[in-house]
Each structure stands twice: as C-alpha cells, then as structure tokens.
C-alpha cells in the first residue's frame, strides 16, 4: 500500500463513518416521557395581573430574604418595564398591550420544564434532570457553576447568583417538585384567583387546550404554545395574541438538544469513531515511516 492508496482508503473510511453518523441522527429523541407526566396549562386570556402567583412562589421557595412585604407584590408599577427572572424571582408576570384594542395582556412565565430540555442535555455534570412528574430538577450539590444551562435555555430561564462569591447557585422554578411528588399542586397554580392555571396530566391538558380553542375560536390564537414548541414543554400556554407579541421567544418545533445530541452521539457511536481514528493515525505513522529505517530524531 502506498501513500496515495492509504489516503484514498482513509478518505473512504472517514466518509463511511460520517454517513453512519448521519443515519443514527434519528436516535437522539431525548428522554422517554411517562404517560402520566404532569404539566400546567396557562390561559393568559384569564390573567388579570394580580401577582398573587409571584407572592405564593416567593413564600413557598423562600426567595426574597428577608421575605419582601406582601404589599410589594401588589405594586402594579412593576409592569412599566419588562421583568426577567432572577435568583429571587422564579416566576414573573409581564404586561403587554393588545395593539388592536389597547387592552392589557398579562403573561405569567416561569421555567417551561421542557420535555427534552436543552439545559438538561447541556449540563456538564447532570445537575439538571427531567423527572418523571415533568419537573426539570436542579441539584446544587453536583453543579460546578459553568452556566452552560443559561446559554442553552431557549427561554433564558435559569438565573445565576452572580453576586455570591462562594456558593453561587443556579435558581429557577422547581415545579414545586417535592410538593408535586406528594400529590400537591404548584404554589402559583394553587394561589391564582382567576383559574389561569390548570394543573394535571400533560396529555389531558393538551386536549383541554384544543377544546377551549375550538369552543371559543375568537378568543384564542390557534396555537397551544408548548405542545410541540421547543420539542414540547410541561407548561403550555393559550393566548389571544400571537405568541411573539407577548414576549415568547421564537423556538423551533424540535428541541435544539436533539441537534446537539445527534452530533455528540455520532462522534462516539459505540466508541467506533475515536478508536478507528486511533487505528488510522497509528497505521499512517507506521506506513509513513522512512524505508531506510533511519528515524532521524
């Protein structure tokens, strides 16, 4: 075998490997979801912006320290500017204006608890995980503070305690994981006086959502945000305005974790690509060795 033949063979083997990788592309579906996985349907058309959910969330998760007075959660002045998540606020209500009627539209947001969550896929140590009940759960003990989850999240949800020099934690909505595990209801859904949030099995919520749209097509846009968006989320939304007009980011119909995992799994498929590469480089080293046997150092 001379060099040219070797290079030709190498090229063919590498091309074959790439094709094999491409064919396994469909493999990265993400975690299998239990049919009993839970979720919340948020009907934004019912929300009046009272911020009771923010208060309930704050109290259950001990977010503001010392606890902010209840009156501070009744302040409507906060709607003047768009508010984001922070280590002290897992859920935020923002106000938008209906461009036609001029009426206010209130939208309550929190972690969407994606089915195939990019943050879970990205996390370097598995500190984030998708639980059977639907929650995307964070484990402070594992976290090393790399903040890749913040880069990965399509909704820019995870917040980091940047001002904590020694024990910075990622903070985000927990789906009230422990309470839900014991049959409870997320604090925000429990506190809402308007019944904006319906808590239940995700599959049933999807049916309820479509039923509401069907019964009242003038009230809703024909889109259950989160049914398929970003690959599907545990929290889903109904709205009277297109979602891009009420602060929802543009997301794909699949989770971006799928693209990333396809690449990662292709590169390491059964360890064949790295081992083949090792063998190829080794073979090249041996083949290219000068024939006179003199390996001048």
């Amino acid at each position: 075998m001379n060099r040219r033949e070797f290079l030709k063979t190498t090229g063919l083997v590498l091309a074959g490997g790439t094709l094999a990788g491409a064919q396994t592309a469909a493999a990265a579906h993400g975690p299998e979801l239990s049919p009993n996985t839970l979720g919340v349907l948020v009907d934004t058309t019912l929300c009046i912006g009272c911020r009771e959910c923010e208060l309930a969330c704050d109290r259950r998760n001990n977010l503001t320290k010392p606890p902010a007075p209840e009156e501070s959660f009744q302040d409507k002045g906060v709607f003047g500017s768009y508010r984001k998540y922070s280590p002290q606020s897992y859920t935020v209500v923002n106000k938008f204006d209906n461009p036609e009627t001029g009426e206010p539209v209130y939208v309550k947001n929190q972690c969407m608890h994606c089915n195939h969550a990019p943050c879970v896929s990205a996390c370097i140590v598995g500190a984030l995980s998708k639980k059977e009940n639907g929650a995307v759960h964070y484990d402070y003990g594992k976290c090393i503070g790399c903040r890749y989850c913040m880069m990965a999240c399509p909704f820019q949800v995870p917040a980091n305690e940047f001002d904590n020099a020694f024990t910075p934690s990622i903070r985000k909505c927990t789906f009230c994981f422990e309470f839900v595990e014991e049959g409870g209801v997320p604090a925000c859904a429990d506190a809402c006086p308007m019944g904006v949030m319906t808590f239940g099995k995700r599959e049933e919520l999807i049916e309820i959502a479509h039923e509401r749209i069907m019964r009242n097509p003038s009230r809703y846009v024909e889109h259950v945000f989160g049914e398929h968006d970003a690959g599907g989320t545990s929290w889903m939304y109904l709205a009277g305005l297109p979602f891009d007009q009420i602060g929802f980011p543009k997301v794909a119909g699949i989770s971006n974790a799928q693209t990333s995992e396809t690449i990662m799994h292709g590169m390491f498929k059964h360890w064949i690509p790295p081992i083949s590469l090792y063998a190829l480089v080794g073979a090249a080293m041996w083949l290219f060795k000068p024939k006179d046997g003199e390996d001048h150092e």
Partner: protein, 405 residues
C-alpha cells in the same frame, strides 16, 4: 547548513523590559482575579442573566485551546508523517500547546462559579454523555496529561547525568537519576501511543468546542455563526491556526533569543497554511451560502461588522498573504500573516461565543470590564512569560554549538 546545532537552554539575562512588562500585566490580572474570588463573578465582570459567558470562556478557553493546536498538528506532521525536517519547530510548538492547555484549566478555575468542585465531571456518578462541555472537559484533561508526558523526555534529557539536589536531599541523587533513565527508556518505547492519543483527543475536543454553541440553537446564535457544521468548522480552523501558531512560535523564539530564523523549515512548513485556511474559507462560505445566510454579513449591524473584521481581515487576508512565496520566505511578513490569522481565529471564537449570542428579550449587551480584560491579558502574559522561562531552563531552542558563538 548548521547540522551541528542542537537544542540547548537559553543563556543570558532572563529579565528584559518586555519580560518585566509581562510580570506587571500578570500582577494586575492577579489582583482582579483576587477581587473576583473575594466578591464573586457579578461585581468582577459584566456577565449577566442574558450574557452568562464572557471573554474568560471565549478567549481564555476557546481561543487559547485553538492556539494550543500547535501541539497536535506538529506531532501529526513530524511524528506521524515523519517529516523530520520540521523537527526544529516541534519543541517550541509543544511548549506553546502545553502552556495554552494549562491555562485553559486555569481559566476555568477563574470562571467557574464553584471552581472548588471543578473535578466533578471526573466522577462516574456525574458523567453526562450528552453534554458537549463534558466531552471537552474530559478530552482537555486527558490531552493536558498527554502533553506533559510528551514534554517529559525534554525534562529527562535536561537532567539525566546532571541531577544535583541541594543539601541533605543529595542522597536521592542516584535514585532520581535512575528513575529519570527508566522513565526516559519506558516513555521512549511508548511515546508513539501517546502521540496518537493526543491527536485523537484534539480531533474530538476541537470539534466539540464548536458543538458547544450548537445547543443554544439558531434562535439564540446569529446565522453568520450558527450551523450544525460548527464542529467541522472549529476543527478545520483549529488545524489551520495550530499550523500558524507553530510558525509564529518558531519565528518568535528565534527573534526573542537572537538565534537564526529556521526558515529552511518554516518556509516549506507554511506552505500548508494557505491550503488549510483555504479549505476553512471554502467550507465557511459554502455553508453560509447553502443556509442562505451569506447576505447577513451586509445587514449593517455590529454583528455583521464583527463578521467582516473576523472573516476578511482575520482569515481571508492571511490566506492571501501566505499564498505568496515571498511572504513565506520573509520572517517578518510570515510572522505578521500567522499572527493575524491567530487573531482572526480568536475573533471567530469570541464572535461565536459572545457577539453572535442573541438571548430572547435581552436587556443590554455584554462588553467585558477592565478587570475581565486584565485577567485575560494576564493569562496570555503568563503563557509568554513561562514560555521564556522554559526556554531558559530546558533545551527548546536550536542553537549553534557553544564554541561557534
């Protein structure tokens, strides 16, 4: 030519005005790093909820790791393809890689929120095979080990027959001498295995450094940079910039230590530069065209400008320059072209990780604080300073026989 020249430690004055400047930059950077440790990432940087990654990730990890490609590209050329005429470039390139990757680790210790548990990815209970960052962590760690193993023979060569511990430690002289000899023999037999391993590890993690930015998706990463081909583009540019860094390292050592330029090796070596840069340019343009994103570079935003600077000045210009033999024969022009390309690829890493980032409903933007810039500069200064120090202690730079001086 000077067939009798061999690598020897540099002799003479270690501290020059330039070296003192490096020390000053390192001291200022260390001060800001201390500030970060005392008060946290928030006060010390402009990182925010929307922009969680800054230059400590983009430059100190991604760009420096790319420059460290000088190690595996040279190993492939000198030890796999057996092009021994380039061996004179091997050691400076290896030292550059060794220091670059060491400081990738240092950078993470500065950037991670919980730097004191940086070892977590090593624990099997926390392995996360889906994570691009996990793959990078494991490969970089393994490759750093390989780099130190590849460096070990230089250490052995320096000290075998010269082991002379001070004072009461003298009794260990014989033992140390013996273990160096055993180490040298054993490693001599096994070195090929480690060299191949190093090439494989670099092939994996240089790609994955690109894969890292796949998961934020085209919604959060601007179309001039986001593509599922990011791993291939990162790997191609890493090879090209590794070659450029090898050229720059050789020319810089010759200039800094007043030895002759190794143009008999550097000029033919740099013929590979336009080939690899050209392949990278071609793939980049084809990918942008196929995705219908070529026009984005003219949209007149700061991102489009950043792309133009990165691509036309940092990548295309070095490609054109290194195409000319006159440039490849001139130490000055070739150093300029290689260095420009190093800056171009670094700009690509910064743009891919930071400039391109478009978080939804973002408030404000990101520009590094003076402290962030100084910590970044200090790490670069430390690489140069330690490079010089290693050249003074170990046989790195080829010099004519001592009596010829």
């Amino acid at each position: 030519m000077s067939g009798h020249s061999e690598a020897r430690p540099i002799e003479g004055k270690f501290f020059t005005p330039g070296t003192l400047l490096l020390v000053a930059v390192m001291a200022v950077g260390a001060g800001f790093a201390a500030y970060r440790y005392a008060l946290g990432l928030g006060p010390a940087s402009n990182l925010s909820h929307d922009y969680p990654w800054g230059i400590w990730k983009a430059i100190n990890v991604a760009a420096i790791a790319a420059i460290g490609s000088s190690g595996f590209t040279l190993t492939a050329i000198v030890h796999v393809a057996h092009k021994h005429k380039y061996h004179v470039m091997m050691r400076p390139g290896l030292v550059l890689a060794l220091l670059s990757y060491t400081f990738v680790g240092v950078a993470l210790v500065v950037d991670l929120g919980k730097y004191y548990v940086i070892w977590h990815p090593m624990l099997p209970s926390m392995w996360q095979g889906n994570s691009a960052l996990f793959e990078v962590a494991m490969c970089v760690m393994s490759y750093l080990t390989v780099l130190y193993i590849e460096f070990a023979p230089i250490l052995f060569k320096r000290f075998i027959g010269k082991v002379n511990l001070p004072g009461p430690l003298k009794m260990f002289n014989g033992l140390l001498e013996f273990s160096f000899k055993v180490g040298d023999t054993v490693l001599g037999r096994l070195m090929s295995l480690f060299m191949i391993l190093g090439i494989v590890l670099c092939t994996l993690h240089q790609q994955t450094l690109g894969t890292i930015m796949v998961i934020p998706g085209p919604e959060k990463v601007h179309g001039l940079w986001w593509t599922p081909l990011l791993p291939v583009l990162f790997y191609l540019s890493a090879i090209a910039v590794g070659l450029a860094a090898a050229v720059a390292a050789s020319l810089w050592t010759s200039k800094a230590f007043g030895t002759k330029y190794e143009m008999q090796a550097v000029t033919p070596f740099s013929r590979a530069l336009p080939l690899f840069i050209g392949a990278y340019i071609a793939l980049r343009v084809v990918d942008l065209a196929l995705r219908g994103n070529l026009g984005l570079m003219f949209e007149g935003t700061y991102r489009a400008t950043a792309f133009q600077v990165e691509f036309f000045i940092g990548v295309c210009l070095p490609f054109v320059l290194t195409w000319f033999e006159a440039v490849r024969k001139s130490p000055r022009a070739l150093f300029f072209a290689s260095f420009l390309f190093i800056l171009g690829v670094s700009a690509n890493r910064v743009n891919t990780y930071i400039t391109s980032f478009m978080p939804p409903n973002a408030i404000g933007g990101y520009f590094p604080t003076f402290g962030e810039i100084m910590v970044c500069a200090a790490q670069c200064a430390a690489i140069l300073f330690l490079f010089r120090l290693i050249c003074f202690i170990f046989p790195i730079v080829d010099q004519p026989p001592a009596h010829a001086k």
